[in-house]
């Protein structure tokens, strides 16, 4: 592995980690599409700031972008607040307006510098190592690595400091407001982090794939855990895995690195979607298959319990009468009885059926649970 390869992977991994942290809260707040909006509209902020300072590496570009990111959130809120359009339509109205303004300005005023639309949309991760940060004649490494590391650090510190506030305002904003933990402030703070992160990330992966890094890893982690802390950690892990895996996929296919990273993230999501324990499609199908036989066994046990020890038991609790009494097909009834016997819930004496102690206890607890 060459130094350049290593640097590209480091930039990709740090970018993915930085995106996953605020992205997790966007997913939990059901604001995933806002990252798409911010990722696009910050172009306007970058162009406007560039027109003022005339320098592509100025930190003011980040400030300009963050401000326009916030403007996007406020504008969406205002449009939605009119009650004339819903939230999704408000997002769809605001960001193309700001983005297209940015595209027009890029084309009109910045043709002498290297700020073209392709780079903005798709990023150019492969070239990032060639833009070095040099101080006092020392080569400190790729500028993008520094930028994204600082952004990652800011996100981490903000998250550690305001973990409890972010959690409460996401879960129950009304209680947060009642307790004086200003949910509006926390919301705009989070949106500032999203904007700043998107600005930093877009030089590496472009405005479109920022969304993939912010939303897909947390959406994947959401399927895998019930704990917010674990979800945040897993989001970062999945993001980094997508970055590194994507790099080598691009290497093997000779394809776009950013595209491969997003594709890898999507593949990881698909895996979780299918195979996540408890929530995945496979687990759900297996659960349904199991319940298909478990529930009839419970019904059988309760039926036997209801008539146990009563004169009618000799008639009711017989395998050849289940079809008449429970309305079951004879073949189905036999299968249920066999399964219940195998599980030690039911004993049979010829055609007469009897509950075992275990079956009786099970039937009683099923009844108690529904009472």
């Amino acid at each position: 592995m060459t130094g350049v390869q290593l640097e590209i992977q480091a930039i990709a991994a740090v970018t993915a980690a930085a995106c996953a942290l605020p992205g997790a809260f966007l997913v939990l707040r059901r604001l995933s599409l806002l990252s798409d909006a911010i990722g696009h509209s910050i172009l306007l902020g970058i162009v406007l700031a560039f027109l003022v300072v005339q320098e592509l590496t100025s930190p003011f570009l980040v400030v300009g972008a963050a401000l326009v990111g916030l403007l996007t959130v406020v504008a969406v809120e205002l449009v939605r607040g009119t009650g004339l359009v819903r939230e999704d339509a408000a997002i769809g109205l605001v960001f193309p307006a700001l983005f297209s303004l940015g595209v027009v300005l890029v084309a009109r005023y910045t043709d002498s510098v290297h700020l073209d639309t392709d780079a903005v949309l798709l990023g150019e991760l492969a070239f990032t190592p060639f833009d070095r940060l040099v101080a006092g004649g020392w080569d400190l490494g790729p500028r993008a690595l520094w930028v994204m590391s600082v952004i990652l650090a800011v996100n981490l510190v903000a998250l550690l400091l305001f973990y409890k506030e972010l959690k409460l305002t996401t879960f129950d904003p009304a209680l947060a407001l009642a307790l004086g933990l200003a949910p509006g402030l926390v919301h705009y703070g989070l949106m500032t982090l999203v904007s700043v992160t998107a600005v930093g990330a877009f030089t590496a992966v472009g405005a479109i794939l920022v969304v993939a890094l912010m939303i897909v890893p947390p959406a994947t982690a959401y399927l895998l855990t019930d704990r917010l802390g674990v979800l945040l950690g897993a989001s970062v892990g999945i993001g980094v895995a997508s970055a590194i895996g994507g790099y080598w996929l691009a290497h093997a296919l000779d394809a776009s690195i950013a595209g491969s990273m997003a594709a890898t993230a999507g593949a990881l999501f698909a895996l979780a979607f299918l195979f996540a324990p408890g929530r995945g499609l496979v687990a759900a199908a297996r659960r349904r298959a199991r319940q298909r036989w478990e529930f009839p066994q419970t019904m059988l046990a309760i039926h036997l319990l209801n008539h146990e020890g009563l004169p009618e038991a000799a008639v009711e609790n017989r395998i050849d009468h289940l079809d008449a009494h429970l309305g079951w097909e004879p073949a189905f009834a036999r299968e249920v009885v066999e399964r219940a016997q195998r599980r030690g819930l039911v004993r049979s004496d010829g055609a007469a059926l009897e509950l075992t102690d275990r079956g009786r206890a099970g039937a009683r607890s099923s009844l108690a649970r529904t009472a």
Binding site: K164, E165, K167, F171, A174, L179, G180, Y222, D226
Partner: protein
């Protein structure tokens, strides 16, 4: 922090409107210390809005609210809030104990993280509402009644003087309802003031000692024996009220519970 003079809650000339559609018209209300008050009224009467206005969650168009003689913002920590169960996302990745612990966030203030003391206090509240075996459970796996009890436990750890509850009995089973009533009575016995939005007229005299009838305007407010009359109920719910019994008490059956 509270004084025993005056009222636990005082609402003066409160009007709340969404646009120019009034939800509460010029409501005056005084809630004495240490009462267990039910707020009843038909759908759209502004019951939830009243609670939210007291908590500063909606901005009034006119009027004032004071809690323990002060503006709400000054006494936040003395007030606990139990929102409607449907107001949060129960799929949120968090546990029963964690949600209960959120009741301490106000006292902790910004940045400080909950520690052992908060954890123990929360566990105690979880035990008090009978959920100790489910403390580590993800909250979507709870039944409606259990979710309501989580909210109650969260209000208990706030250790407040005034409790505002928005339909604490909604969608709960009979066992939970009895347990909740028991808890509310305990709170009253400790001298706390409890205001609960309620739907079931039939249980008002049994559960509460104070009642407010609301229908955009305040219809009546006072001790249940004085205020919960057939006349007032007719004013609040509109005529005819065939389901009311003779002495102003609803009969045993056929009652609407919205």
């Amino acid at each position: 922090m509270s004084t025993r003079d005056g009222h636990a809650i005082e609402v003066t000339d409160l009007t709340v409107a969404y646009g120019d559609h009034p939800v509460l018209w010029d409501v005056d209300l005084e809630v004495p210390h240490g009462v267990l008050m039910g707020v009843v009224g038909p759908n759209g009467a502004g019951k939830t809005t009243l609670v939210k206005a007291i908590l500063g969650l909606v901005r009034p168009a006119a009027g004032r609210v004071s809690v323990l003689g002060r503006p709400y913002a000054d006494v936040r920590r003395a007030v606990a809030y139990v929102p409607q169960r449907g107001s949060v996302d129960w799929d949120f990745p968090t546990s029963v104990l964690d949600v209960v612990q959120m009741g301490r966030y106000g006292a902790l203030g910004w940045v400080r993280r909950p520690g052992r003391a908060e954890r123990e206090r929360s566990l105690e509240a979880v035990r008090k509402v009978g959920l100790e075996e489910l403390a580590g459970r993800q909250i979507s796996q709870l039944s409606g009644g259990q979710q309501q009890r989580v909210f109650l436990a969260r209000a208990l750890v706030q250790d407040a003087d005034v409790y505002l509850m928005d339909e604490p009995f909604q969608g709960v089973d009979a066992t939970t309802e009895r347990a909740v009533v028991e808890l509310l009575r305990e709170l009253r016995a400790e001298g706390k003031t409890v205001v609960a939005v309620h739907h079931d007229l039939q249980t008002v005299p049994e559960y509460f000692d104070w009642v407010t009838l609301l229908n955009v305007r305040r219809i009546a407010s006072g001790p249940v024996d004085d205020a919960f009359t057939e006349e007032n109920l007719r004013l609040a719910y509109g005529a005819p009220l065939g389901f009311l019994g003779r002495n102003g008490r609803p009969p045993e059956e056929g009652l609407v519970s919205e």
